[in-house]
């Protein structure tokens, strides 16, 4: 049972890293970006291709995946996304679905539609077991690695948001864009860097998750709903909300698939609908912020 909890937490942390960029950009720009999964896919494929074709070690691939996705995100923000801020949500939805379709078809064209396999380094393959009986905790080393990396990233993000000058500018822009701009904060630069970092984090998440989630061209469509659940349930005004939502989702999903495999993803979706009907603004909403 503890093993399931552990796997669920690892899965949830991974989802958090994948979705946190989406949460921040959505809160910041009120932009519904369904193409977020595409950046994660880019990161995953960078890792896979570098490892398979160029033999780059796994740990080196991770920062490269981050960089690649961040650069792509930055370029797209400058050229395409920024024209759509303030447009109706329908336009944003259509635009990002279009981008997703393009990403799926291009990856299919250049790499092929089969699922890619990551060769993990030896030291990540093992498994440690603690305790015994019903309370046995089996920890896959790779999942442990994911939890450690994601926890470090989360603490880092929280630090940046809470303590640094950039963090306070970002929070000010999320709360009220116009007043922030009026106070002399260059909101455009904040948007740009946040979008790039968010895409980069998605890329990193995709690279980390390539083994756990599986990487094939339909990745952005398959996991789009999960990212959106994290954001919609967690709310967009803080990063602790999405974090808790992601862990909850991870545990619910792993436990549901383990105990009641017949129902599959059913539990997660029903839970999401119930939560959203009950609290339409998300579970963890800070009072006083912009809705």
């Amino acid at each position: 049972m503890l093993t399931i909890l552990f796997d669920g937490i690892a899965y949830g942390m991974l989802l958090f890293i994948l979705a946190v960029g989406l949460a921040v950009t959505m809160g910041l720009m009120n932009f519904i970006n369904l193409a977020h999964g595409a950046f994660a896919m880019v990161g995953g494929y960078i890792t896979i291709l570098l490892m398979q074709r160029a033999g780059v070690p796994f740990l080196v691939c991770l920062p490269l995946a981050f960089l690649g996705a961040a650069v792509l995100g930055g370029v797209l923000e400058r050229t395409l996304y920024r024209r759509l801020y303030g447009k109706p949500h329908l336009d944003q939805v259509l635009f990002s679905i279009g981008l997703t379709f393009m990403a799926v078809a291009s990856v299919d064209y250049f790499v092929g539609s089969t699922q890619q396999i990551v060769q993990l380094p030896e030291w990540l393959k093992g498994r440690t077991e603690l305790g015994e009986g019903a309370w046995m905790l089996g920890m896959g080393h790779y999942r442990l690695f994911i939890i450690v990396v994601c926890a470090a990233l989360t603490i880092g993000l929280q630090y940046v948001l809470a303590k640094t000058r950039f963090g306070s500018r970002l929070r000010a822009s999320v709360d009220d864009q116009r007043v922030a701009a009026g106070l002399g904060i260059n909101v455009n630069v904040v948007f740009f860097s946040t979008f790039a970092v968010g895409s980069g984090l998605a890329g990193l998440g995709g690279a980390l998750g390539a083994d756990v989630l599986g990487m094939d061209p339909s990745f952005p469509l398959k996991f789009m709903i999960y990212f959106l659940i994290v954001v919609a349930v967690g709310g967009t005004s803080s990063i602790t909300g999405p974090l808790l939502a992601a862990i909850l989702l991870g545990i619910a999903d792993v436990a549901g698939k383990y105990y009641i495999p017949k129902l599959g993803a059913f539990i997660v979706y029903s839970l999401m609908i119930v939560i959203l009907v009950w609290r339409p603004q998300g579970l963890f909403v800070r009072q006083g912020g912009k809705a």
């Binding site: 379709f101 299919d108 064209y109 029903s270 999401m272």
Partner: protein, 320 residues
């Protein structure tokens, strides 16, 4: 009836041409049938997207519900198409009434998620209940009886396309009547300013629930037509890309006037046909590119080529 509600001459010409098309272009009857079905589907989405502004990414839920219930009804109860169609509409309407409770609150994002979730849940259900629906293999062995007891569904699709076009016409007339009634006027008021609509005493939640239910029923009719004319229902009817495609059709044709869905369906289906002939596997890329260009350039400019080389009008205040 007011001036906007009157039938214009081109509408009559259009419908006569549409109903004659299966006979004039009998070799293309199958694609005419498909177009009529997706046009009905797009029409139903227009009722909620165009007239109330609810962005739904899960409209395929009702389409699939109609398809599966019509197919199951034909297989296990009786093969008469018209009764089956009514059953399909009825189940989708009931589902719509249940789901309408979920779209009343929250932001665009919440509604997007909830509609998407409903679609995914139904797909999971159809997948897991394989003793009933055939699971991933689809529901096979659906044999339809003759239409009105006289016209057998033929392989060339002539009967099927006339059938679908007639249902499309009937539901179109109903939808038209609905949106031009005082009821429709309150819907537009809700779309344009929900708060103000509430302030002048329009029961917003009730109106939204009713139109959502009606739209679900129409989508169910489209699904039932698909299952009946192809004699098959598979998980494909619930797929996300169906909801996305139908939204694209509607946007091509223009939201908020009922012909938008029909025009969009024609353009989209022909485009899909041409593109998938050129690149069978990668045509979604071009659909995606088209979507991106459509949004960036703006639909208004894209469908009016003569404005391409004029300077753009100064943009007004963006809507908040």
């Amino acid at each position: 009836m007011n001036a906007a509600g009157r039938w214009r001459w081109w509408e009559l010409v259009l419908w006569v041409a549409a109903l004659a098309s299966p006979f004039l272009l009998s070799r293309h009857a199958l694609i005419i049938n498909e177009i009529a079905i997706v046009a009905l589907f797009a029409l139903s989405l227009d009722l909620i997207l165009g007239y109330t502004g609810i962005v739904s990414l899960g409209h395929a839920a009702f389409f699939g519900m109609g398809a599966y219930s019509a197919a199951l009804f034909a297989k296990h109860v009786m093969p008469d198409p018209l009764v089956g169609l009514l059953v399909g509409i009825a189940t989708a309407t009931v589902l719509g009434a249940v789901c309408s409770a979920t779209i009343l609150r929250g932001t665009d994002l919440t509604r997007l998620m909830v509609t998407l979730g409903v679609g995914l849940i139904l797909m999971e259900l159809a997948n897991k209940l394989d003793w009933l629906t055939g699971g991933a293999d689809g529901l096979q062995g659906v044999v339809m009886g003759p239409l009105l007891g006289r016209f057998e569904f033929d392989l060339s699709g002539q009967v099927a396309s006339v059938y679908s076009l007639t249902v499309l016409l009937l539901l179109f007339v109903l939808a038209r009547r609905l949106v031009q009634s005082p009821f429709g006027a309150t819907l537009k008021a809700i779309r344009d300013n929900r708060l103000r609509a509430m302030a002048i005493g329009i029961p917003v939640s009730q109106r939204l629930a009713v139109i959502y239910t009606v739209a679900a029923g129409a989508a169910g009719a489209a699904g039932a037509l698909l299952a009946q004319t192809t004699g098959f229902a598979s998980l494909d009817v619930f797929e996300f890309h169906r909801s996305a495609d139908v939204m694209l059709m509607l946007v091509i044709g223009g939201v908020g006037w009922l012909y938008g869905g029909i025009a969009g369906a024609v353009v989209f289906k022909l485009m899909q046909d041409v593109l998938s002939n050129i690149t069978p596997q990668y045509w979604t890329f071009w659909i995606g590119l088209f979507l991106v260009v459509l949004v960036l350039v703006g639909r208004e400019r894209l469908v009016r080529p003569w404005t391409w080389f004029k300077p753009a009008k100064p943009a007004g205040e963006s809507k908040t």
